[in-house]
Symmetry: C2
Subunit: 326 residues, 2 copies
């Protein structure tokens, strides 16, 4: 029995999911759904069909789990509740502040329809969240630190591109090495936003634009840059394309706490990713397996990574896992 | 409602569990059980009673979860099955090769009696196992590496102490930095046992014993030392006590894999522990919370860390976890 998977939305994430499904022998991609003209969407595997998103309701019997690969800002708030009424779903909704509301909306849709919807899957939210939880559950007295990077931040790059006179731009978030070292030492430092990360911007200016003005706009931008030490480097369009097209990312979750009389204990989880979207996609595919199994077991409603026992993610049986990995 | 916890066995691990319970406001220690004379056992908290192990069956109504703090070699193979018929239990059974059989024995005892028994909890088996599982579930094509140390290995120290002419000894397991670096680089190296770890032995000789003979016995000892680069340093009894009484440990689980065309992705989990037994105890206490909740939900039988959803470990509600940690 293979798990029949569908993909809703075919950007970087959808392409990553297609690729990850190919790495998992117990899964099969049965269709991709798009709001573009299906004929314009070229898959990695030419044998899989591309369909119009509007036709997706015709595929409820053909798909065991639908992986939602749209964006958190405009796509998922609508697609999550709509599609979890029809399919078991997995998504990477990552607007942290809106997760509780999104969870309720998806749950209200999935549960009465007998579907499972695992939301906010990926690495943050996702694997990083799990490690924040394990950290504070095990070391009750301590502090948790999350560092991101070195990595390309999509949201901050978008913010740069919206500035007048900016033709193209990318932004890298970089953990401050000294702060990471302090945290790793177990000394439980208190760190400000500025002390934890720096931000590097690479910007292509439109012709005749005043670089100093753009730079000032960037470093004083509220929420995005004003609380950070930000550097701005102007580059050419060619340099942007050649040196900044990859999407690396990563980071650390560190839990530092004390036990007994005064023993320092440090738990650290870190990711070093050549491709952020491909990694997120790989996590989505593992949780699609869990969604399928939970549905098989008769469970319904919205779930998060906190609700999923690790064993549900593996293609191996519980007995094999105990024997090989415990 | 506090969770009423009992401790069976009061060595380093039992003492660590008592200490960890004090850090968790939703738990209460209701009794310690020992095979020694209860009057000889001094707890950290003088208000808790110490009882004879033989009387433990009288406490089935007073204890929600019993944490088994005996050893894997002689205590748990007998106590695990016996006590999981009477109590919800959590233990740290860590003889990897015997886990499948132990699981079956405990399951056969717990299930018909309506009890939950979470076995093999700690960091390896335990948190390291979970990370091996997450690693291979997410990055299906790749390799998993576990490094231990720098840390004091109890089993190897015991092996040294059994050698004739050895009065006292400790053994440290140390990951080879070059091997760790290679793995972190994502190059998927193949590493032999010797290339991954070195072993450092600190030995106190009895009077008049030939050090060269003892050294030869150590470095050629099958299973324990012959496959490793082992160093032996002779020290005095005072040095042993002064410099080698702490029980630090730690290590790394690294999963390195490829996604998409050829993107290298590296997931790493690491622990740096001042006190190995205190950390293991802290993990046991978090899983005691999960055992209590599973039992409340009507579940029964043996479980491992693979079967436990992360959220069950936290004192926080699912809604608070989504809001604060996701």
């Amino acid at each position: 029995m293979t798990i029949r998977v569908g993909i809703a939305g075919y950007g970087n994430l959808g392409r990553g999911v297609e690729s990850a499904i190919n790495q998992n022998k117990d899964m099969e991609l049965v269709g991709v759904f798009t709001r573009r003209n299906p004929e314009d969407v070229k898959l990695l595997n030419g044998n899989v069909s591309v369909h119009m998103m509007d036709d997706i309701h015709k595929f409820t019997d053909a798909i065991d789990v639908l992986i939602l690969c749209g964006g958190s800002k405009n796509d998922l708030p609508e697609q999550g509740p709509a599609l979890s009424a029809l399919f078991n779903t997995v998504d990477s909704f990552d607007t942290h502040a809106k997760i509780p509301g999104y969870f309720e909306a998806v749950d209200a849709s999935a549960k009465p329809n007998g579907k499972i919807a695992i939301i906010s899957v990926g690495w943050d939210p996702g694997l990083f969240s799990i490690n924040r939880l394990y950290g504070e559950a095990v070391l009750s007295e301590g502090a948790t630190y999350t560092f991101w990077g070195k990595g390309l931040s999509q949201g901050h790059s978008d913010a740069l591109r919206r500035i007048e006179g900016v033709k193209g731009a990318v932004q890298y978030t970089i953990p401050v090495p000294d702060a990471v070292d302090k945290v790793r030492s177990g000394s439980l430092p208190e760190l400000t936003t500025r002390e934890k990360h720096t931000r590097e911007c690479y910007v292509v200016l439109a012709d005749g634009v005043d670089g100093n003005k753009v730079k000032e706009t960037i470093v004083t931008m509220p929420d995005y840059f004003t609380d950070y030490d930000t550097t701005v480097t102007f580059i050419t369009e060619e340099e942007l394309k050649q040196d900044h097209s990859a999407m690396p990312h990563g980071g650390f979750v560190i839990r530092s706490g004390k036990t007994g009389e005064d023993s320092a204990q440090v738990m650290e989880y870190s990711l070093k990713l050549d491709s952020n979207p491909e990694f997120t996609s790989s996590v989505l595919v593992a949780y699609a397996r869990a969604a399928y199994r939970l549905h098989q077991n008769g469970e319904t409603g919205a779930k998060t990574v906190f609700d999923i026992a690790p064993g549900l993610l593996s293609p191996k049986s519980a007995a094999d896992l105990r024997k090989e990995l415990l």
